[in-house]
């Protein structure tokens, strides 16, 4: 049912990252589709103040009496008390992109992809690029505090145990804090540490671009490849010149769109948010709420799937 009023807030990890703006686009699209007379706000903290800022925004939203909030959580379980308070005040709390690990205070998590699947996708890409003869690779992650990153890395390590990956070896895991310069330096350091490195896997859009630039600057694109999760617009040149032959991502526009639908329906009491419930999310079709298999507790809606980008499709998507 359209036209019901619900004031909603979309909160990214922090402001100033392209993918979150894309998510906002998707949410706005859904907002106008639903003819919601309420407001949709896009509020986020600064990168330096991400954790405390997210908690503050959530608390203020509670005070303001917003009807629902969508959180891409960067504060781990530390946001749980504030989320619980918000729930107690009758607010709808949905997470997207990155969940609350313990799921305390969260009603629903909109998962972009299956976190275990992310592990497999990364492992597959690694195998693809390194080739059957095998070799060493390293992970350049965002920050040790991002729960989605940690989950993916863990999932990949799990996936690598399968026999078909026996020849490729994960030798290091470093963090670039989602800062270009730090990621760049870390990528260079990986080369020095591991002279036989064949691949840098960066499951972060900032990290992958920085690593690709670093390899290009050092003229090492033939020797060390880059892969991971990246934005086509940022990666197109590296894919075309062979620095980053293959990488993956999902659509953040769609993620924002889906998150909005789920949150709006919950906030207007059109769905209850229980396991097994199915709802229609506009142009994206039907989704079902399920128990989140990647966490002990909590429910999720799985968006999926991955798009894997390579020379064939990257230019079209970069537009």
């Amino acid at each position: 049912k359209k036209g019901l009023r619900a004031d909603l807030v979309l909160m990214p990890k922090f402001l100033g990252i392209l993918v979150f703006d894309q998510a906002n686009e998707g949410a706005k699209e859904a907002h106008s589709e639903m003819k919601n007379p309420g407001k949709l706000l896009f509020l986020g903290p600064t990168p330096e103040n991400s954790v405390a800022g997210q908690i503050e925004i959530l608390t203020t939203a509670t005070t303001q009496g917003q009807d629902g909030i969508m959180i891409s959580n960067n504060a781990g379980d530390q946001i749980a008390p504030a989320a619980k308070k918000a729930r107690a005040k009758g607010m709808t709390v949905v997470t997207w992109d990155s969940p609350i690990p313990s799921s305390d205070g969260e009603q629903l998590f909109i998962a972009q992809v299956d976190f275990n699947e992310t592990g497999t996708v990364m492992a597959d890409m690694a195998l693809n690029i390194i080739g059957p003869s095998g070799g060493e690779f390293a992970v350049l992650s965002a920050s040790p505090d991002a729960s989605n990153q940690n989950a993916w890395n863990a999932a990949m390590k799990e996936a690598l145990k399968a026999p078909k990956y026996s020849k490729i070896k994960l030798v290091d895991l470093v963090y670039g804090d989602d800062q270009s310069e730090k990621s760049y330096n870390q990528a260079l350091a990986l080369l020095d540490k591991h002279p036989n490195l064949k691949l840098i896997m960066a499951p972060t859009t900032v990290g992958i671009a920085a690593a690709a630039k670093a390899m290009q600057d050092e003229g090492l694109c033939d020797k060390v490849k880059v892969s991971g999760l990246g934005l086509p617009a940022e990666m197109v040149s590296y894919t075309m010149n062979g620095c980053a032959p293959e990488f993956a991502l999902w659509s953040f526009v769609d993620l924002g769109y889906l998150s909005y639908y789920a949150t709006y329906l919950l906030a207007t009491n059109q769905i209850e948010g229980i396991v097994g419930e199915t709802f229609k999310a506009g142009r994206m079709g039907y989704y079902t709420i399920e128990k989140d298999p990647t966490r002990d507790k909590g429910m999720r809606v799985l968006m999926g799937p991955f798009t894997v980008y390579n020379k064939g499709n990257v230019e079209a998507s970069a537009k």
């Binding site: 402001l15 990252i17 270009s180 260079l188 630039k213």
Partner: protein
């Protein structure tokens, strides 16, 4: 011998001590890290020092006048973004124009800092804490939180970090590093041998005396901030060339790093003493430690920062202890010749 000692001014001495400590660090790490001492280490450290070094020089100018500039990180970010933005929209802009654009914007922001500090008499730490936030806000507002993409930048800029001036086997002297050397020598000359440079020291050493001597304190401090801003602008340009992707967090954290470099390099945080060479050596020291720790396999990712903090502390402490003894020794030796 005594004559030599007499010539060895305290600031020269400190530079020597620092050089010595850097050597110690090199030797230590070469024993614990395989293939440590090679051309790659030099290339790596020199390129990243090129960026930090230029910024540390700017910071030094300001610290010498008994002030501090905490907004340098935001200035670097803003210029990198601004110039990047313009270059991606218009690939025709020539390198020289781009560099001057960067320096000009930096100088503009620096002059705002300088105006508030020198003419409005607001303590520098307050002004620059404020403008640190302000410039970053401007950046976010200006950029609308979008990213400058490497793809859109002109080719000459992307190739810039790879350009060598000199090459010996695999040892490369990159253009950016050479650029830094030019800046270092220029400012060392200015500080040591021009009356403007000496007045910079004087103002920081004793502002009241400088006023009594009729120096234009305000103009000197203002100039220091403008120069610092201009150098931050230049750093921003180098930053853009090196990292390509510029987001709204670009350069944050550089303010403390540049202060650390200056101070490790023996620039007195209370103004009046220190040298450009020292500041650059400080930048080398910190960068070398960081680079080496990253490469040290025994040190996990998590131990690195803890080690870095301790190493900075011990190097500064060692430096100060050695300096104290040296200074006493020098005093003793030279005073003997006197009496």
């Amino acid at each position: 011998m005594n004559d030599l000692l007499r010539k060895l001014r305290p600031e020269r001495l400190r530079e020597l001590v620092l050089l010595l400590l850097i050597l110690v660090v090199l030797i230590f790490f070469s024993t614990v890290i395989e293939y440590y001492l090679n051309a790659r280490l030099f290339n790596r450290v020199s390129t990243s020092v090129a960026i930090m070094g230029v910024l540390a020089i700017g910071q030094t100018l300001v610290i010498l006048t008994r002030n501090i500039d905490l907004s340098v990180g935001s200035m670097v970010g803003f210029t990198a973004y601004f110039v990047g933005q313009h270059l991606s929209q218009n690939n025709e802009i020539t390198p020289l124009v781009a560099i001057f654009m960067a320096i000009g914007i930096g100088a503009l922001m620096g002059s705002f800092n300088g105006f508030l500090v020198a003419f409005c008499r607001i303590p520098a730490i307050i002004v620059t804490l404020g403008t640190m936030a302000l410039y970053r806000t401007l950046l976010v507002e200006y950029s609308d939180a979008q990213t400058v993409l490497t793809v859109n930048l002109p080719k000459w800029l992307l190739d810039l970090p790879r350009v060598n001036v000199l090459s010996y086997e695999r040892l490369n002297l990159r253009l950016m590093v050479a650029g830094m050397f030019v800046v270092v020598i220029l400012f060392q000359l200015i500080l040591r041998n021009t009356s403007f440079g000496r007045k910079l020291y004087a103002v920081g050493s004793n502002p009241e005396a400088a006023k009594n001597s009729g120096f234009p304190n305000q103009k000197i401090i203002f100039t220091a901030f403008v120069l610092c801003g201009a150098l931050a602008g230049l750093t921003g340009f180098m930053f853009l060339a090196r990292f390509g992707n510029i987001t709204v967090v670009a350069g944050s954290g550089l303010e403390l790093k540049s202060v650390a470099a200056a101070v490790v390099g023996g620039v007195n945080i209370f103004g009046g003493s220190g040298s450009i060479f020292g500041a650059v050596l400080g930048a080398v020291m910190i960068d070398l430690l960081e680079n080496s720790l990253i490469r040290w396999l025994q040190i996990s990712e998590f131990w690195r920062d803890a080690m870095l903090g301790m190493l900075i502390l011990t190097s500064v402490a060692t430096d100060s202890v050695i300096m104290k003894h040296f200074r006493n020794y020098r005093l003793k030796k030279t005073s003997h010749t006197n009496s």
